[in-house]
């Protein structure tokens, strides 16, 4: 339990610590922030080590009473699905901070405070077992992100940040309404507890298992949550904030946005929509899957015609996240597992692409593809790293992206819920387009002759940049070659969820789970 609290609060404590440092001590601030995030990452390994992957339920639970009036508590814990995302967050944070050393030049103190608060809140989102707490973390994230884009962003940052804000706030307002309704429905109508209200996730989960919300209402509550999450993902057609936010954000902002923030949406879809509103999920699965598939192809097509490298990568996110959502709404173990591993994959490969684009931007102060050509000659190591990230993104077997893509497509193909091959068939064409847009960019930037005089003397990557990229490559290859290390973490949690969905829809549980772990009485009420 202490581990989880440490992982959550260490970055926040770090943020407070940084506030005490004189803002002129830029180096001290940078290294303190890095040290804190690295410490968090190291500690997160012990979380992984103590996690019992046989047990599909929440572990490391902390449950502290808080606001009795509406039975809100400080309740946190992780299961297999959230653990991977907590690990991803802990891994990406030091990368983000280290990449900021060169990307962020003004107001360093405020910046690193923001980043650490961001890390705190992102971790909080993934481990909350209380929907009120979840909502608080969800909203806190807006603030540092708003400033990171708005202060340290590019020249159109104001437009981008307002757009980001509007989209997200609209989504979360609906979610808030749904949370309030849900709390009073479960606390009042179902359980008749003292407060007449509850925000305890596990209590809600248990209550709705036994007594689902009537379908006509469930659909609305589902939609309210789904809208908020789908905007975050972003699912087509709610995606237009993303290219602007990505393009205008400073490099570390884009990295953290792509690697972690978008995953909050997909995580929410699994944790809330599938788990709490299964009947509505069955009902809406075809629509959401259709949007996911459209997004896969649409994102790829639009990425193909971009002239700005960063915007291209941003649109590729729309395409990649489509695979995740398709996998999730296949509601099969393969699909959801593929979706989860694809969340991690996208964090790694797209995160790395943003880092690389940032590196070249720092050297040339432009990201216009037409400005480049023949970079491979002057930056060979950079080119190698770029090609690895690119092929990971393209879904080349042996690298991480393939595992996720294959499983999400496989899940969707075999899904009895979707029960239609056309989703997979159209989505698989995304595999072709992904090669098109990335390879075209790579060709125009790296290959050919180095004719632009401004590119003649570009320096290859520095030691610090090696330190950023090597860890990412390690995980890209690791997941590609031996994904079991990661997939077995979430396997049983996923199976438990899928069992539940099958039981509601078809009346049987397809997977046997280790007997000892079936529904440990974790629920306090």
């Amino acid at each position: 339990m202490a581990i989880l609290l440490t992982i959550l609060f260490l970055p926040l404590a770090g943020a407070f610590l940084l506030m005490l440092v004189n803002k002129k001590e830029a180096k001290v601030i940078q290294y303190t922030a890095l040290a804190i995030s690295l410490a968090t990452f190291v500690i997160s390994f012990s979380l992984m080590a103590h996690f019992d992957s046989n047990n599909p339920n929440f572990q490391f639970i902390v449950n502290i009473e808080w606001i009795k009036q509406f039975d809100a508590g400080f309740r946190i814990g992780v299961d297999g699905m959230s653990l991977l995302l907590v690990m991803l967050t802990a891994f990406i944070a030091p990368i983000t901070i280290l990449s900021s050393f060169s990307a962020i030049e003004k107001r360093q103190k405020e910046y690193y405070v923001m980043i650490l608060i961001l890390q705190f809140a992102m971790t909080g989102v993934f481990i909350s077992l209380d929907i009120f707490l979840f909502y608080i973390f969800w909203e806190i994230i807006l603030i540092p992100m708003y400033f990171i884009i708005g202060i340290w962003g590019g020249k159109d940052r104001l437009y981008a940040t307002v757009k980001f804000f509007i989209f997200t706030v609209v989504g979360s307002l609906f979610m808030l309404v749904a949370i309030v309704w849900l709390g009073s429905y479960v606390g009042g109508t179902v359980l008749h507890n003292d407060a007449g209200f509850t925000t305890n996730f596990m209590v809600i989960q248990h209550a709705l298992d036994n007594q689902p919300i009537p379908l006509d209402i469930q659909k609305w509550i589902f939609l309210a949550f789904a809208l908020s999450f789908c905007i975050k993902v972003p699912l087509f057609p709610f995606h237009t904030w993303l290219p602007d936010a990505h393009t205008e954000a400073p490099t570390p902002g884009s990295v953290v946005l792509a690697a972690v923030l978008l995953k909050m949406g997909t995580y929410g879809l699994i944790r809330f929509n599938l788990d709490l509103f299964p009947q509505a999920s069955f009902y809406y699965a075809p629509i959401i899957s259709t949007l996911a598939v459209v997004g896969i192809v649409y994102g790829a097509l639009v990425a193909m015609v971009q002239t700005d490298m960063k915007r291209l990568v941003a649109y590729s996110s729309v395409s990649h996240l489509g695979f995740v959502v398709l996998g999730i709404f296949s509601m099969t173990v393969e699909g959801i597992q593929g979706g989860i591993i694809q969340m991690v994959n996208h964090g790694l490969s797209t995160g790395m692409l943003f880092l690389l684009v940032g590196m070249i931007y720092e050297r040339r102060h432009t990201r216009d593809i037409a400005e480049f050509g023949g970079i491979a000659r002057v930056m060979p190591a950079f080119t190698v790293f770029f090609s690895i990230a690119m092929f990971a993104s393209v879904g080349l077997p042996g690298l991480n992206g393939f595992v996720g893509e294959f499983l999400t497509l496989f899940g969707a193909f075999n899904s009895p819920f979707l029960n239609n091959w056309s989703y997979t068939i159209v989505a698989t064409s995304g595999v072709i387009f992904a090669a098109v847009y990335l390879l075209w960019m790579f060709q125009r930037v790296m290959f050919g002759a180095n004719t632009n005089p401004q590119n003649h003397a570009l320096k290859d990557i520095s030691k610090r940049e090696w330190a950023l990229l090597v860890p990412m490559v390690v995980f890209i290859v690791w997941i590609g070659v031996y994904p079991s290390t990661f997939m077995k973490v979430s396997e049983n949690s996923t199976k438990a969820l899928v069992n539940k969905l099958y039981e509601k829809k078809f009346g049987y549980k397809p997977y046997a789970l280790p007997a000892s772990t079936q529904q440990k009485a974790n629920i306090k009420n």
Partner: protein, 670 residues
């Protein structure tokens, strides 16, 4: 049954066959640029292929001795395991996998040695060998795999290496339709192949749905036994057609053949190894590996045969008029691959695989010979600017000549046996039209090959002797040529047709005997579906006759080429080109297939994406809607915008204060 598959310790060795080139790749890839000596790099790279070659020989001998009838599966570890899906990295020892392994490592080793000479002095010498080793690793995974997904890993992996090696000299120009740099050609190869991969992936999903497994042996046994969950020929036809789509990509068949000629942008040893001897035969391997599935889908077999036939024919006609030495060979490769698909399509699986082998010898040799010429001619590739090279490059000339005889189908050279077996199979199954078109393609083959030989090595010297000093290549290059020449000349005797060899042995076709366990099931399915045509002697007579005819065809092709190009002015071909300008241009422009694809697929796709999806749908509709909403709904947008301008700091203070307040609240209540 899977239970009966013994895991014999000795066969565990198969794991090392792909592992060693992988180690070679890692050593060269990570430390290559610190190794200054080319000899060291070349030795590491070549050994990483030679050792697996030796291991393959050992396994081969053992298989022959043991007469294994079912494959031995050697699992390494579980790769992807979730839900109902469990995919292993695991290899399969059987006749087909070991035969391919021998070809890949054997020819691969010779090409590695050759590359030491050819790439001498290149600034990226070690990178080249690293890529070659990686390629061998991937190719071995492709053929040794015991399941579809690991084959797919190899399949994509060889595509990656092909991409990396086509664009190896990334800052050099290359001419082609919408191609300016070698990198464009590399992209084209990868992307066109991806279209095929789309088919492969969907085929795998259907296979799992039908057979509940992606293991070759499980699928094969279930299909042969008719015991599948979901049986109907419709689904098998779909599976095999989608798989064949993948094959048309990798093995450059119509409609996806367009990438291979442009792949010649890569260094010539790459063209020999990847784009002639090994990778492009992956499609043939995939069909041979799944012969039972294809045998059960006669409609697909017909499609395979027709596509192969059309490709063999059309590619040969294009080859007639090309002037780039490598382009001629590239179209020739496309055409020869077409022949292999004809064989598969008519159910003559052994003949298809036989032609893979002989083609690896003679086409590998032709490319290496072309490389030697290019090397000696200071990177001149236009055969109209050559001529008379035989006196400068005797070894290259003689070996090239042997290969030319082999590909033209001159009796007792390797290509004669394999090509004749294909044509005979087509004829004997009742497809005499196929035979006729195939024989015509063979005539073209003989013609363009002797045209190539003639223009390159004979006649007057058309290069500028002041700038170009042709010379023979070093030993590292000529020795592989000689070895391949021997194989091209004699390799055919592994597959002597019964009609010719019955006097000395009851089973003269060694290859057919060897591969029998692999194709037995498929052959049974096919032979029950089609009736035996006629009795032994009558068939022999027909076979002799056809052999004579096709030899005559080859000879007339040679005669014609000789006659056309002996005249220093080339008056006959020039007159033909002039009188049939339209046809000539159509052939020269490769039937304008590239232009057709650009006009109908690529350009509309780009244009729609840019001017509609992005500029109108995204920017106008969605953003317009959101911006409109923002303005009207109590001016959220406006308010935030106002807060934005200049007072960000204040806002930050308020926000931070808010957070602290919330956190304070949390802490208080803890």
């Amino acid at each position: 049954m899977l239970e009966t598959l013994r895991t014999i310790d000795m066969y565990d060795m198969i794991k090392f066959i792909p592992l060693i080139p992988l180690i070679g790749f890692l050593i060269l890839g990570l430390t290559g640029k610190y190794i200054k000596k080319e000899a060291v790099i070349g030795t590491i790279g070549s050994l990483a292929v030679f050792i697996p070659f030796v291991l393959s020989i050992i396994l081969f001998i053992d298989i022959v001795k043991q007469h294994i009838t079912s494959p031995v599966i050697v699992p390494v570890y579980t790769w992807i395991n979730t839900g109902q899906l469990s995919i292993s990295i695991s290899y399969q020892v059987d006749q087909l996998s070991i035969l391919f392994s021998l070809i890949i490592t054997g020819v691969g080793f010779l090409i590695h040695i050759y590359s030491i000479g050819y790439m001498h002095g290149d600034r990226s010498f070690s990178r080249f060998f690293a890529y070659l080793n990686l390629f061998i690793f991937m190719m071995l995974n492709l053929v040794l795999s015991s399941n579809f997904l690991l084959t797919f890993l190899g399949w994509e992996g060889v595509g990656l290496c092909s991409y990396l090696l086509i664009g190896f000299w990334y800052d050099q120009k290359f001419e082609g339709t919408r191609i300016t740099w070698t990198g464009d050609a590399a992209n084209k190869a990868f992307i066109v192949n991806r279209i095929g991969d789309f088919g492969f992936i969907i085929a795998m999903f259907l296979i799992f749905l039908t057979f509940n497994s992606l293991d070759y042996q499980t699928v094969k046994e279930a299909a042969a036994g008719g015991a599948f969950a979901y049986y109907n020929t419709g689904i098998l036809t779909a599976i095999t057609l989608l798989m064949f789509l993948g094959c048309t990509g990798k093995s450059a068949q119509i409609p996806l053949a367009v990438w291979l000629p442009d792949a010649m942008a890569g260094p010539t040893p790459v063209s020999a190894l990847i784009h002639a001897a090994t990778m492009v035969t992956a499609g043939i391997f995939l069909i041979a590996r799944n012969s039972v599935l294809f045998a059960l889908a006669p409609d697909t077999m017909m499609v395979v045969a027709i596509v192969g036939l059309a490709t063999a024919f059309f590619a040969a006609t294009i080859g007639l008029v090309q002037n780039d030495i490598k382009k001629v060979l590239a179209y020739s490769t496309v055409s020869q691959l077409g022949f292999m698909f004809i064989a598969l399509g008519v159910g003559a699986f052994t003949a298809g695989v036989f032609h893979v082998m002989t083609h690896a010898f003679f086409k590998g040799l032709l490319f290496l010979g072309a490389g030697s010429v290019i090397h000696g001619m200071h990177h001149q590739q236009n055969i109209k600017m050559m001529g008379g090279l035989k006196k400068y490059m005797p070894v290259t000339y003689i070996t090239f000549f042997v290969a030319t005889l082999a590909i033209s189908g001159i009796p007792f050279f390797s290509g004669f046996f394999s090509k004749d077996e294909i044509l005979w199979s087509a004829f004997s199954k009742g497809h005499w039209i196929m035979w006729l078109i195939g024989a015509t393609a063979a005539f073209f083959t003989a013609f363009y090959m002797f045209r190539l030989l003639k223009l390159t090595f004979h006649g007057e010297e058309r290069f500028d002797p002041h700038h170009v000093h042709p010379h023979e290549s070093p030993k590292t290059m000529t020795i592989p040529l000689i070895i391949l020449a021997v194989l091209s000349a004699l390799g055919g005797f592994l597959g002597i047709p019964y009609a010719l060899g019955s006097w000395f042995s009851a089973h003269p076709n060694l290859l057919e005997n060897f591969l029998d366990p692999v194709f037995e099931d498929a052959q049974k399915i096919i032979s029950t579906a089609t009736m035996k045509v006629s009795s032994g002697n009558e068939i022999h007579f027909q076979e002799y006759l056809l052999m004579l005819i096709s030899t005559g065809i080859a000879l007339s092709g040679i005669y014609l080429a000789n006659k056309f190009y002996s005249d220093a002015l080339w008056s006959v071909p020039r007159a033909l080109a002039k009188n049939f300008r339209g046809t000539y241009n159509l052939l020269f422009k490769k039937y304008k297939l590239d232009e057709f694809y650009f006009a109908t697929v690529v350009d509309p796709c780009i244009e729609t994406s840019r001017s509609f999806l992005w500029k109108i749908f995204d920017v106008k509709y969605i953003d317009g809607l959101v911006n409109g909403l923002g303005r009207t709904s109590m001016g959220i947008g406006e308010t935030v915008r106002k807060l934005q301008t200049g007072i960000v700091q204040n806002y930050a203070v308020i926000m931070t204060g808010g957070i602290i307040l919330i956190l304070f609240w949390i802490f208080i209540s803890l």
